[in-house]
């Protein structure tokens, strides 16, 4: 963050160029991204993203919390995909503990994660289209997103900061009517995707703003550690859900959409097709939802049910111990990655054998993806920067943490 000292790197090389400061309060930088541009007329000579305006020190805060107290912090990293962050964190801790999670909890996690992916992609599509000038799509997308947020509220009591997953399972049995509501949504959602596509995919103005714009090759994308649709839009066929499955994703049938052009339109197509695939996974999860418990059988780690706590001495003791002194996690380290809507979200957790994590590090997909911006934009027009930033789908909370 360079808000006090003068901008160091980019200085005007010749009299022709000028420095333009975009953000951090620019509506199309999706938060508080600041981009420093050197421009020659309308052409971009150099571009440098400047981040850190939203740094909250979450990694440091985690070190002072019990393992179970970190879960709500993980929501706050990325307001668009709280469940994905929850999942990644609890999977990492469960791997450290060596916990086995019952199938129903795993399937519910998959179901909610795919709804989260749809939620995130809808916000991305709406705002990205708004940036480029397609105003209508925004309202259409937020209409469906509202329904997903209501589903989240039904299941967790919160619209955005859900904190629904727990180490060892999930917090509560989903309430009555939850599955019907999701089934309704899964029923009508594909038509809505058709609506978005009707507005954009064949639209010549959309095509002119996105096709051939901000191209990145597969080699560059890999070298710059890009992941998710930013990588798949350049033709690299990798999706962690399929290739390194977690939380029983191997039991679901889905296609991984890829596009080879590497431009804004390719990334758009990847994400729009992912919307369809995700709703397919949601349907499979609804149809095949296993019966059984939603929490692992590990009384020292998982909080007992309320009923048991009030009637059984042992459960009360465990409850008291977990709340007051946490639970010790065997020493070691794990790196757990999941496919978040933006790419590879990874948690690296080091335990020293106590009840608080020694180190928690989040591998933010957006931080790496943002590095592709100079490659995409240099030598192109100023207006393409907005399209490029939108197509990377950044969330500054995740970048800065």
């Amino acid at each position: 963050m360079a808000h006090l000292a003068p901008t160091p790197v980019i200085e005007p090389g010749q009299d022709r160029t000028m420095i333009l400061n975009m953000g951090p309060q620019h509506p199309s930088t999706h938060g508080v991204l600041r981009v420093i541009l050197e421009i020659d007329g309308e052409n971009i000579v150099r571009i440098m993203p400047d981040i850190g305006y939203l740094h909250t020190g979450i990694e440091k805060t985690c070190e002072a919390k019990f393992y179970q107290q970190v879960v709500p912090l993980t929501d706050r990293i990325d307001y668009l995909c709280p469940m994905t962050n929850n999942l990644c964190y609890v999977l990492a801790v469960e791997k450290l503990l060596g916990l086995e999670i019952p199938p129903k909890a795993q399937w519910l996690r998959v179901l909610l994660n795919e709804l989260t992916r749809i939620n995130s992609h809808l916000v991305w599509l709406g705002t990205h289209a708004l940036d480029i000038g397609a105003m209508t799509v925004f309202l259409y997308c937020f209409r469906e997103r509202e329904e997903i947020l209501k589903i989240f509220e039904i299941v967790s009591g919160q619209r955005m900061m859900t904190s629904y997953f727990r180490i060892g399972g999930i917090a509560l049995e989903p309430p009555l009517g939850f599955f019907d509501r999701v089934r309704d949504f899964a029923g009508y959602f594909p038509e809505k995707v058709d609506e978005y596509e009707n507005l954009l995919t064949e639209n010549p103005i959309w095509g002119m703003r996105t096709k051939g714009v901000a191209i990145i090759t597969a080699e560059d994308a890999i070298a710059l550690s890009a992941s998710g649709p930013t990588l798949r839009g350049s033709g690299v066929d990798i999706d962690l859900r399929r290739d390194m499955p977690y939380s029983s994703y191997e039991k679901f049938q889905f296609r991984v959409p890829i596009a080879t052009e590497g431009d804004v339109f390719a990334r758009y197509m990847c994400r729009v097709q992912e919307l369809r695939e995700s709703i397919g996974i949601v349907r499979q999860a609804l149809d095949g939802m296993p019966e059984g418990p939603i929490k692992a059988d590990a009384p020292k780690v998982v909080l007992p049910d309320r009923e048991k706590m009030k009637t059984q001495m042992e459960a009360l003791i465990y409850h008291f111990k977990i709340i007051t002194e946490g639970f010790a996690v065997p020493a070691g380290e794990v790196y757990q990655a999941v496919e978040s809507p933006r790419g590879e979200m990874g948690y690296y957790i080091v335990s020293d054998g106590t009840a608080k994590p020694y180190r928690v590090h989040m591998r933010a997909a957006c931080l790496a993806n943002l590095q592709t911006l100079p490659t995409m934009c240099e030598g192109r027009l100023l207006a393409d920067v907005v399209a490029a930033i939108g197509s990377i789908d950044i969330v500054l909370g995740e970048i800065d943490r």
Partner: protein
């Protein structure tokens, strides 16, 4: 799923492609290995880190062509104090490996891997900013999260969690 104890015997883990590849190249560079919770960790000599990354990226058997992450762990007051941690991914083999270098507290410098993966740029800036590790050969090492005039490195263990410093 009970936890099995970590394997740290180099001979036992020789069959792992990354270990095999690195020991064949330069046995002195590999300081130790650990296989724990299905994850492979290789401890490297900090002087050989960059070359080892090139070898792992270009070797056909390994093909660790994707740098997932760079981070650091502070083990103060132990010496060597810092462990810089690299997570590599092979897109074709769907494999991961973790590389670690240990650095003393006196002069924590390690060679930058930005020449191997340009994507290491932001990760290394972040480690520099929050831990004070310097990366030699980095094109533009700067404070990326904290303000430029900030004093101290917040993720070091001797940096307080709350209150003024």
């Amino acid at each position: 799923m009970a936890l099995s104890p970590a394997i740290t015997d180099l001979e036992e883990l020789k069959s792992h492609p990354a270990v095999a590849c690195l020991t064949a190249w330069n046995p002195a560079a590999v300081q130790g290995v650990k296989f724990d919770r299905d994850e492979m960790t290789i401890y490297l000599d900090s002087a050989h880190l960059r070359e080892a990354c090139v070898i792992l990226r270009d070797d056909r058997e390994c093909a660790f062509n994707f740098l997932s992450d760079v981070t650091c762990v502070d083990w103060t007051p132990a010496e060597p104090r810092f462990e810089v941690v690299y997570h590599l991914l092979s897109i074709s083999k769907k494999e991961r490996v973790r590389l670690k270098v240990r650095l003393g507290s006196a002069n924590p410098v390690v060679e930058s891997v930005t020449s191997v993966w340009p994507g290491a740029n932001f990760f290394e800036c972040e480690v520099f900013d929050l831990f004070g590790i310097r990366f030699s050969g980095h094109p533009y090492l700067r404070r990326i999260q904290m303000p430029e005039d900030w004093e101290g490195h917040p993720l070091r263990k001797d940096y307080p969690v709350e209150g003024y410093r």
